[in-house]
Amino acid sequence: MVSHPVTIEGLTKKFGSFTAVDKISLEVNKGEIFGFLGANGAGKTTAIRMLCGLLLPTSGSGAVNGYDIYSENEKIKLSIGYMSQKFSLYGDLTGRENLKFYGAVYSLPDKELKERTEEVIDALELKSFIDRPAGSLPVGWRQRLALSAAILHRPAILFLDEPTGGVDPVFRRKFWEILYDLADQGTTLFVTTHYMDEAEFCRRISIMHRGRIIEIGSPQEVVARHHQRDLQETFITLISGRDADG
């Protein structure tokens, strides 16, 4: 098991003349909850897609779970979990059927799939709705189900792209309890969010602006460095100090 599930150096992605990600460098520790913050359009999603092996960088180097992001992206895909704000499940299938589908995608043997299904139902408290069509569930429940599908194959690192967008406070609290349990068991979590209170739940955060990482550290360090009241004010001060381009 690698001690740094994410290491990137000078990672860059250009689309034509537009530089979406501009020489970012980062190391994420095993079992850490890392908050990857930034304004809309700062380049977060492009960076995550490169880390997940879905998009080749223009330049720079990096490894995820020890696999090279250029030559071993297929291995990266199988070794990570990914969940986004967008509903990624089949609405007509029940939760259990969705899990079976994801188990097949990750080639889990039948016996293991059965065991893991019961484990995630238990750990994420899905029992009351696992046999209902996923499309009929409230957003908070769907997100818990989507998380269970993303961790079914026991990935060492989990990428969560705005996992709690549109989820109410009670569900958000529950969701973060689950994330802390996963981190406690050694899973590394790489999370984007627009909720600054959630960013404060992270062990370390980075703030991205116009393709670059402009700040990195523990939430307390970052807030102290800029003499602000909280992370929300720090974020606003940092970004608005650099441009006023809505």
Binding site: N40, P138, D168, P169, P219, G246
Partner: protein
């Protein structure tokens, strides 16, 4: 002066009760925030106020006009920004505005007169010819708001206008709302962000179609029964378990620390002693103020 009055509103869909005997009022120039979990009935409430759906019982009036019978008088007063993206992605910023101007019967010269101020406060001027579909999340929301404002409504109903929008864009969005308020508009806004709720004049917590609590945001935080402590220890599952074992407390991991929530019946000195017994010294424990979210969750739990 009351502008929006909702009295004993009931709305059901077959066996599902969406809004259950709900009453509230908004005064001229007031910002009212509605907060509730998914399925609390917020969107049904908003659609009812906007005359978009029929309701089963109750009274809804805007500026004294009944929504059910005098909607012709209400329509010019009302601006509605629905939760889902309501713009034409293939049309440019200006084309979207022009389209909404047409819907509300503005003439060409009225529109030309109106668009300047809208561009000015939204900051969308430089992007007038960009396709709406190519705007960033924050700018899309500002355009949707501008479209809802095209006919100078006196009442604005905004259904989660900032969901998925970054903190800076949310701050800018609320600066616009505050400006509209100063000009005398009445705003009713739902949001999942408690920092936004704190900016409203009054907050209403809604759950299962009913009102859980109502009041100015800083007064609502005083409703928390019990205390909240920040405990600076490694937030491991084991630690959480140890503290939960004390009983009568709730524990939540919070970055590099734990938050411990006590109920009204807890004797705080005893808790400090019990924490010391499991190796947490008093200098690691700091009382903090309960937030709006803490109050909301406590009320929902009852």
């Amino acid at each position: 002066m009351t502008i929006v009055a909702v009295e004993n509103l009931c709305k059901s869909y077959k066996s599902l009760t969406a809004v259950d005997d709900f009453s509230f009022a908004a005064d001229k120039g007031e910002i009212v925030a509605i907060v509730g979990p998914d399925g609390a009935g917020k969107t049904s409430l908003f659609r009812t106020i906007c005359g978009l759906i029929q309701f089963d019982a109750g009274d809804v009036t805007i500026s004294g006009y009944d929504v059910s019978t005098r909607f012709d008088r209400i329509k010019p007063l009302l601006g509605y920004m629905p939760q889902t993206f309501s713009l034409y992605p293939d049309l440019s910023v200006e084309e979207n505005l022009r389209f909404y101007a047409g819907l509300f019967g503005l003439t060409g010269s009225q529109f030309d007169h109106k668009k300047g101020p809208l561009y000015e406060f939204s900051g969308l001027g430089p992007f007038y010819d960009r396709r709406a579909g190519d705007l960033s999340g924050g700018m899309k929301q500002k355009l949707a708001l501008s479209c809802a404002l095209i006919h100078d409504p006196k009442v604005l109903i905004l259904d989660e206008p900032t969901t998925g929008v970054d903190p800076l864009s949310r701050r800018q969005f609320w600066q616009i709302l505050k400006q509209l308020q100063k000009q005398g508009a009445t705003l009713i806004v739902s949001t999942p962000y408690m920092d936004e709720v704190a900016l409203a004049d009054r907050a209403i917590f809604m759950h299962q179609g009913k009102k859980l609590a109502e009041g100015p945001p800083d007064r609502l935080t005083e409703r928390y029964r019990g205390k909240v402590y920040r405990v600076k220890v490694e937030p491991s599952t084991e630690r959480v378990g140890q503290i939960m074992d004390i009983g009568n407390v709730d524990v939540r991991r919070f970055g590099a620390a734990l938050h411990v929530y006590t109920s009204a019946s807890t004797v705080d000195d005893r808790l400090i002693g019990q924490l010391a017994e499991i190796g947490i010294e008093p200098d690691r424990i700091e009382p903090i103020k309960a937030g709006l979210e803490d109050v909301f969750i406590q009320l929902m739990g009852n």
